[in-house]
């Protein structure tokens, strides 16, 4: 199948290095300590953060840092074909783990010993790049909850199809079976905290693809920063100072 047309455009009309339309919002869940929704094209996720709070299961308590937990769930209607999905299948367990580890790397857990932070991500619509979208939403939600972090971690994926590195794959491109590089980046520190790839790719091309994903992460980081700034200004205005 031709994923990049001769004209240089992709199936959904984007250029190879173009991201989908991104929309991010803080405060999607009223009752949570922090929450956010993040949309990348048709992919739509909500994240909610509860904590830091007392550890529920005393056996899991860690003496010198906070316990971070994460649960990833998909709505029944999130994919094209409707399926009732069991809780805690392999894919969602793996994703929960990836998200937890990525977020743990940027949260200053040592500031909140003997406490617990719960991150819940809920996929409303899946159209490729859910992993990245979840991380981005979680970052926003953590920031909204006022959890101390060393930097904003953002994530973006890039692939390689028809000998072209492509930024931000959608479901169609994702299921083509080509390589898919997901990067999580601490943009200010310029450090990669998450790197996943599941295919074979020559090293020089891989570097290009990864670089592309990193560029994507930086762009998202800028956007997220903007959203947070606006939100803060709004809050400041509401407080009347």
């Amino acid at each position: 199948m031709e994923y990049v047309k001769l004209s240089g455009f992709r199936l959904d009309g984007r250029r190879p290095t173009e991201m989908r339309h991104i929309h991010a919002e803080v405060g999607a869940v009223a009752n949570a300590d922090g929450s956010a929704s993040f949309e990348m094209g048709n992919t739509k996720v909500i994240a909610a953060v509860y904590g830091p709070k007392e550890v529920e299961n005393k056996g899991q308590q860690i003496g010198n840092k906070a316990l971070v937990r994460c649960e990833y769930s998909m709505a029944n209607f999130s994919t094209g074909d409707r399926a009732r999905r069991p809780k805690g299948d392999r894919r969602s367990t793996e994703l929960s783990l990836v998200i937890r580890q990525t977020m743990e790397a940027c949260i200053l857990t040592h500031l909140m010993p003997r406490s617990q932070i719960d991150i819940y991500v809920q996929v409303l619509q899946a159209d490729g790049g859910t992993r990245s979208a979840c991380i981005n939403a979680a970052t926003l939600a953590l920031a909204d909850a006022g959890i101390p972090m060393c930097d904003l971690v953002t994530s973006c994926a890039a692939g390689y199809l028809n000998s072209t590195p492509l930024l931000d794959l959608n479901y169609l491109e994702d299921s083509a079976g080509g390589p898919d590089v997901t990067v999580g980046l601490l943009s200010k520190l310029d450090k990669v905290t998450l790197l996943q790839m599941d295919a074979k790719l020559p090293l020089d091309i891989f570097e290009n693809v990864m670089q592309l994903a990193i560029e994507g992460c930086k762009a998202i980081a800028n956007l997220i920063r903007q959203v947070l700034l606006e939100n803060t200004k709004k809050l400041e205005y509401l407080r009347g100072t």
């Binding site: 009752n31 709505a75 029944n76 094209g80 719960d118």
Partner: protein
């Protein structure tokens, strides 16, 4: 669940007694209702409904299926509700399962009518494509994104809105197939049938706190309830379902009283919901239009 101090409890109870609730509402007032339709483009119809801090999404997916041999002239509808852990940490790891089944069962009772199908909010015979062979199976999925009380009413409103938003593709049945074979069907990409949702009832939950009952309780108020009755009322003022949701026993006359109160409230709520849904539909259509423009 939020822990409340004795003072807070008193404040809530006292407010309800004096017809001035903690958020300034009167006993029979709903919180501001926000409706958005078409939020899930992949579904045939969807809506997001917010009652204050309660936030739910409903989606409708239609799939072609085979009718139940006992009821060959009707389609099938299944309602499932899922409680996302984003709404409350207690829902994680299947912790919301119990509440989910309870809500699903309550919605099924209130929207789908009796076993024979009489009094159903959704006209099942309109889902029939070819008698005994092909029908539409509607899967209605609810998702609780944020919970601050009164989930059932919000879900019912979201389902009503999602059904209004639903377009079911027109189907052409291939003729000439022999009677035992499954006929060929042709699903149209362009023509959609709109649903008539005027018969879909609304659910009004009356929560009894002290001697009074209130509508649209927040979770703080729900924690003070002694019992609650959910009544499903359609636009003709007929009761389409009733569930007493736990708690202490009530005198029969009190329940009948609550039913008539619910009917009274429904006379305000139904037009309000209808106009909100229409506005949301108009907005989503306009939104689609503006996407195409530039």
């Amino acid at each position: 669940m939020v822990g409340l101090s004795a003072g807070e409890k008193n404040f809530i109870r006292g407010g309800i007694e004096q017809d001035l609730r903690a958020d300034g509402r009167q006993r029979q007032d709903f919180r501001p209702i926000l409706i958005e339709t078409g939020v899930i483009p992949q579904a045939n119809g969807s809506a997001r409904v917010r009652f204050g801090a309660t936030d739910v999404i409903a989606s409708v997916k239609a799939e072609l299926g085979k009718p139940n041999p006992l009821q060959p002239g009707r389609g099938k509808v299944a309602i499932y509700v899922d409680c996302s852990p984003t709404a409350a940490p207690a829902f994680e790891r299947g912790g919301g399962e119990e509440l989910s089944t309870e809500l699903s069962a309550a919605l099924q009772k209130c929207l789908l009518g009796g076993k024979s199908g009489a009094g159903a909010g959704i006209d099942l015979s309109s889902l029939m494509v070819l008698e005994g062979k092909v029908c539409w199976d509607l899967y209605i999925d609810g998702l609780v994104v944020s919970s601050d009380g009164n989930l059932l009413d919000a879900l019912a409103a979201a389902i009503k809105a999602a059904l209004t938003n639903t377009g079911i593709p027109k189907v052409d049945v291939g003729v000439g197939a022999s009677p035992d074979e499954q006929p060929e069907v042709n699903i149209s990409d362009e023509e959609f049938l709109q649903f008539d949702t005027s018969a879909v009832p609304v659910i009004i939950t009356l929560t009894k706190v002290g001697r009074e009952y209130i509508v649209d309780a927040t979770s703080d108020e729900e924690s003070q309830m002694s019992s609650a009755v959910s009544v499903s009322v359609n636009s003709h003022g007929k009761v389409c379902g009733l569930i007493k949701r736990g708690g202490a026993g009530l005198d029969a006359s009190v329940i009948l009283d609550m039913v008539s109160a619910a009917r009274h409230v429904s006379q305000k709520l139904i037009p309000l919901l209808d106009s909100e849904i229409d506005a949301a539909e108009a907005a989503s259509l306009a939104g689609q239009g503006s996407d195409v423009d530039p």
